[in-house]
């Protein structure tokens, strides 16, 4: 069990911000930190990893004190045994794939690295340098490397955001697989609602350094009043007036969708908002097959 109660003043782009955390994560859970950029999600991961020191507070992991501002305890990152997948992957450029993994594994090696290479389908890339790999391959190496040291906790900082849909889906599969196989406690930073719903047991939503909501993905991202009906959530890409109505362009599950709404409905909306479109008077068209294209 991980418990973080911490405060830290951050100097963000738009002035300073107080990061105020109170997070509890049960062992074996896969938890997502969700929120706008600049909400403090990455800083939260860095605080847990020991890369960023809180001003005040306490971090307790499995009954061990990792940080306590009152007792002046601050366990070094080296002693926390955390697997961390950085946003830029942070692969060591001068080492090959297998050297990266072996370096992370240190003395704990054995068959572990070989098993990871196999699991992530990296066997035939193992002697290549990171710069010769594609984004998706680098991401797999980063994930494998984070697991090579056999951590109890895995932290992922928006690792999938730069990848296209197909590779993303595959990596989500890998991620669930390793999370279960290694009985990890995983904390993921993500913007993607679909990804969150698919992967996580619990979600913390952050805004300007504060936790504003937490719950299961279903509780957070679907409106209980309309749950029995058909609803999808999406992000607004553009808003354009069309005669008496307004056309919204939305990003829904990796597709661009156009819908019409009334001017009144569009009043409080702006580009970048997440909205739910729902209908209870519905006669949907049905097509067979997962990849049907209109």
């Amino acid at each position: 069990m991980i418990s973080i109660v911490a405060q830290k003043k951050l100097n963000a782009a738009g002035g300073s911000m107080l990061l105020d955390l109170d997070i509890k994560v049960e062992q074996g859970q896969l938890v997502t930190l969700y929120g706008e950029s600049g909400a403090g999600k990455t800083s939260t991961l860095r605080i847990l990893a020991g890369l960023l020191k809180p001003d005040t507070g306490q971090i307790v992991v499995n009954q061990k004190n990792w940080f306590d501002s009152n007792q002046n305890i601050n366990v070094k990152p080296q002693a926390r045994n955390i697997g961390f997948v950085f946003q830029d992957y942070a692969l060591f450029p001068h080492m090959t794939v297998i050297e990266n993994l072996n370096f992370a594994a240190g003395r704990k090696n054995g068959n572990h690295v070989e098993h990871l290479l196999e699991l992530m389908e990296l066997g035939n890339l193992k002697n290549q340098k990171p710069r010769t790999l594609s984004g998706g391959q680098q991401q797999r190496v980063a994930l494998a490397r984070a697991l090579a040291q056999q951590p109890k906790i895995l932290l992922l900082d928006e690792p999938l955001s730069a990848l296209d849909v197909e590779i993303r889906k595959k990596l989500q599969k890998y991620l669930l697989q390793v999370h279960q196989e290694y009985r990890l406690t995983t904390i993921l930073v993500s913007h993607d609602l679909e990804e969150i719903s698919k992967l996580s047991d619990w979600v913390f939503e952050m805004k300007q350094g504060e936790l504003i909501r937490s719950g299961t993905p279903q509780e957070l991202f679907s409106n209980p009043k309309i749950q029995e009906n058909f609803s999808v959530s999406g992000e607004i890409l553009s808003i354009e007036p069309k005669e008496s109505q307004v056309e919204l362009k939305l990003w829904v599950q990796h597709n661009e969708v156009r819908i019409l709404c009334s001017k009144k409905e569009a009043e409080n909306l702006k580009v970048g908002d997440h909205i739910v479109i729902a209908t209870n008077d519905f006669r949907p068209k049905i097509y067979k097959g997962p990849n049907y294209r209109f």
Binding site: A49, L51, G83, F84, D88, F92, F103, Q149
Partner: protein, 223 residues
Amino acid sequence: MNWDPLVLTFKLALVTTIVLFGLSLPIALWLSNTRSRSKPVVEALVSMPLVLPPTVLGFYFLIAFSPGNTFGSWLNEWLGLKLVFSFTGLVIASIIYSLPFMVHPIQSGLASLPESLREASYLMGKSKYETLSKVILPNIKPSLLTGIVLAFAHTVGEFGVVLMIGGSIPGETKVASIAIYEEVEALNYGAANFYSGVLFVITFCILLLVYLVNGGYVKRFWK
């Protein structure tokens, strides 16, 4: 032909470069990590030899190291060091004079490395020393090579500082650049041409080697 001035020049450059490397690495590491307010002051001091006329440095070294004043006589009495008109003095003056040429490339190499490499290594349980030797230094090899060669070449080329503090004692402080000056004064153009030609060819070869290695030509050739 008397090879002594040339041998002395390269001996001075070699000793200076080795000491300078050990000295510059911690300075560059500190400069690239620190948030201390004294950083600009240290940066300015390190860069001073780039702008100051070498004679100014030489003049102050001469005053400071002279056995006639407190610091110079203290060095002489307690450490047995005579730094004026001696090889040791030349080495110390050269270290200060070439300091920016070693520190700057290493510092910019360190600054271009993403922070996350170091952090990733720490999270793998690696100590600061292991991170430095196995992650950071191997990734800034071109910068290290540039620093080493620039410091070496700059020491080979120094004249003003050496003249002020070293004088021209054969076999002790008479380096090639001084020898060339003296031969020209004595109208021995043949000897001056010999020293100059050797310096010309050797420095060209060293610099060419650096650009070949850093440009990846050597690696490609071996593949």
